[in-house]
């Protein structure tokens, strides 16, 4: 799938009335730069463009629609039309915004989907790529690149899943599940009808519950990331408030470090004590001795192996069985053959393992082993020390907060509240992620338990409906696609980290930053926060790398692409973008030109179309005299000027004239 933008038209909206065509002739340029001074409607145009591509505006509320009405008095409606090429075939999507009843209607023109049709009807092949999630990855403002590094969002992972088509695996799994569910319909006989219906109802409930739990699990994790970040901030602010006195600050810092060390020692002592408790022979000498006796007695009785086998070997040689019946040649042969199976290999295995462990752990006395009283005593000491340090730290903190005033008290309250919420969220997530336990029932939040019940229920449905084989094949498919998605994501993360770091090493020579890993968001190496320029450079590098990997080609349509970047980074980003996308459309302002545009032009082999769009204001009318002879389109409320010269000469001074 290759999607390119050809141009747009707007009429009667908050953005200027304009007809923008990206190509002068037949060929579409690789880079299209549209310079629009602040207030010309960049944000409005981008929002309408997204709405046209995704078909989402039909759901807009009246207030949202009215946001697009012109400020100088609205007509009854406004129109926005975007022209595209989808696999080189034309597609036009038009929105009509009614400012009377606050509604939006669509009209689609496409030879591939039946000419002109009312409604949003892009060709079926293109629909998958015109979802909100997908379009948001190639039509965006500079903030998206920033959001890729925000731990509270999941944009990096979403981008990988969407652009590298990992979502297709989920589609295959859903088709398999749906197909099985369909095949279980109408298969029940009279006897099984009510039982089957009950199980199907239960399946639906469990399925809903599972989906709900997974959603809550994700929300809890996102919230935990937000709370942790906020807590870090409050902690930092509080530390700064208390840092007025250097001596006290250092004392508090030392106590905090000591507290952490004591907590680590407590964890270690706790683990040691638990380790001892899990070894019965270390709990008490009585237990140890009893275990040794058990092993000796088992050896003496030649259990499990020799005795069991020997019993049947000897029985086979007898004239009659222990039940009194005679043993003939056939019986003799059968007993000899089956002898080793009869006591059960699982029991023999357990007894052998038990004997082996007793021999290794109990009988061989370990002088280094820690006894339970020693471990418990060490644990009590660790608890005591940890508590004492905590009390000292709290006392000093209280004193300093008392001296620092109300602001410090408020911050401390915030820290406490965030800590409490963090603890609750961590507990909830742990509860959701734990293994199932005996007491679990329908009220549990344990995801694994619900999954197990669902699998069990589906097995029962499969048995009733005679679709056991089909269910098993469906389970294999679902297991395969789920694991393959996780594995592919893991592979891609590693490949993208290496690829992005290669680019970043060249781009950010003066202020190096590299990616440590890609989780839900991008995690930077060694530093939690980067400058705005660094963040944007990392975000772009990631986005263009992912876009470059995808087999499908999309335009990159960006509002203010070089905003906060410094000159050197602008040049590097400018030279990188054309190599990594099929078409680059940027809405820029004058201050972004410097360094960014020359590098962009060079990388695109001068295949660039320069457009400048500005409103007809009082100053703008005066500017009319300065416009070039050719390449100017005038509308009711704006001028659109084509050409590099005017684009380059359009300056702050020109903008000031417009304001006049």
């Amino acid at each position: 799938m290759k999607i390119r933008m050809v141009g747009w038209e707007s009429d009667g909206l908050r953005c200027p009335d304009v007809k923008v065509k990206f190509s002068a002739g037949d060929d579409l340029p690789k880079v299209i730069l549209i310079q629009m001074p602040n207030g010309t409607g960049k944000t409005t145009t981008l929002a309408l463009l997204k709405a046209a591509l995704t078909g989402s505006a039909e759901a807009w509320q009246q207030e949202r629609v009215m946001e697009f009405a012109p400020k100088d008095g609205a007509g009854s409606d406004g129109k926005f039309l975007v022209r595209l090429l989808v696999d080189d075939k034309p597609l036009a999507i038009e929105l009509t915004l009614s400012f009377i009843d606050g509604t939006v209607t669509y009209r689609t023109t496409s030879p591939a989907s039946g000419g002109v049709r009312e409604g949003w009807h892009p060709p079926p092949d293109a629909r998958r790529f015109l979802s909100d999630k997908f379009v948001g990855l190639f039509v965006f403002d500079g903030e998206l690149a920033h959001r890729m590094l925000d731990a509270t969002q999941q944009r990096a992972e979403d981008a990988i899943d969407a652009l590298c088509q990992l979502d297709l695996l989920e589609h295959a799994g859903n088709v398999a599940e749906f197909s099985w569910q369909r095949s279980t319909k109408d298969k029940q006989g009279a006897k099984t009808e009510s039982g089957l219906e009950a199980r199907k109802t239960k399946e639906r409930k469990l399925d809903d519950r599972l989906r709900q739990l997974k959603k809550h699990h994700k929300e809890a994790k996102d919230r935990l990331a937000t709370v942790s970040k906020a807590l870090e901030g409050y902690d930092k602010d509080l530390a700064e408030k208390l840092a007025n006195d250097e001596k006290n600050r250092r004392a508090l810092e030392n106590l905090r470090l000591e507290e952490k060390a004591r907590e680590a020692a407590l964890d270690k002592a706790n683990a040691t004590a638990m380790g001892v408790i899990r070894q019965p022979h270390q709990l008490s000498a009585l237990l140890g001795n009893a275990l040794v006796s058990l092993k000796l007695n088992l050896d003496k009785a030649k259990l499990p192996d020799a005795t069991s086998r020997q019993f049947f070997v000897e029985l086979a040689e007898e004239v009659s069985c222990i039940c009194g019946r005679p043993i003939g040649e056939a019986e003799r042969k059968h007993i000899a053959e089956k002898a080793r199976h009869y006591l059960g290999e699982d029991i023999s295995g357990v007894l052998n393992s038990l004997k082996q462990d007793i021999g290794l752990l109990v009988a061989t006395h370990d002088k280094e082993a820690i006894s339970l009283p020693v471990a418990i005593s060490a644990l009590a000491d660790a608890v005591n020390e940890s508590q004492k340090t905590k009390t000292r730290r709290q006392a000093l903190e209280e004193k300093l907060i008392g001296e620092a005033g109300d602001e410090a008290k408020r911050l401390r309250e915030q820290v406490k509240a965030q800590q409490e919420e963090k603890r609750k969220l961590a507990d909830l997530i742990a509860e959701m992620e734990r293994a199932p336990i005996e007491g679990d029932d329908d009220r549990t939040v344990c995801i694994a338990w619900v999954e197990r019940q669902l699998a069990l229920n589906r097995k029962q449905i499969a048995e009733i409906t005679g679709t056991v084989d089909l269910r098993r094949r469906t389970d294999v498919i679902k297991d395969l696609v789920t694991k393959a998605k996780l594995r592919a994501r893991e592979h891609l993360r590693k490949v993208l980290v290496a690829e992005c770091n290669g680019h970043l090493a060249k781009i950010l020579v003066a202020s190096p930053v590299s990616i440590k890993s890609i989780q839900n968001s991008i995690v930077l190496e060694g530093q939690r926060e980067a400058s705005v320029g660094q963040t944007l450079a990392v975000g772009y590098t990631f986005l263009t790398s992912v876009l470059g990997r995808g087999a499908n080609k999309f335009p990159l349509i960006v509002d203010s692409p070089a905003g906060p970047l410094d000159d050197r980074v602008r040049a590097e980003i400018g030279s990188m973008i054309p190599k990594l996308c099929e078409q680059f459309v940027a809405f820029t302002i004058t201050t972004e030109r410097h360094d960014f545009v020359p590098a962009l032009e060079k990388a695109a082999n001068a295949d660039v179309r320069y457009l400048t769009l500005f409103r007809k204001t009082a100053g703008g009318k005066a500017l009319k005299a300065k416009l070039p002879q050719a390449g100017v389109i005038e509308s009711r409320n704006a001028f659109l000027v084509e050409g590099k010269k005017f684009f380059d000469e359009f300056s702050f001074a020109t903008e000031a004239e417009l304001e006049a």
């Binding site: 799938m1 629909r127 590298c164 098993r472 094949r473 294999v476 297991d479 694991k483 592919a488 499908n552």
Partner: protein, 64 residues
């Protein structure tokens, strides 16, 4: 249009780990590849699914 190589190798790896024949991976990849090229109809999806199901090796009753 090709699928991402990392997606293909992940499918093949997991297929092997699950003890499934190579044909399972090949059939799933063929399905995904066609999905990536165009919007498949329900009937087309079901054809791919049926081929995939046929290739799957299932264990004994005790595996259930």
């Amino acid at each position: 249009m090709a699928l991402d190589n990392e997606l293909i190798s992940a499918v093949n790896e997991v297929c092997k780990e699950l003890g499934q024949p190579e044909s399972v991976g090949k059939r799933l990849i063929a399905w995904l590849k066609e999905c990536s090229e165009r919007q498949l109809s329900g009937a087309e999806d079901n054809e791919h699914l049926e081929l995939l199901r046929q290739a799957i090796a299932i264990g004994t009753e005790a595996d259930l």
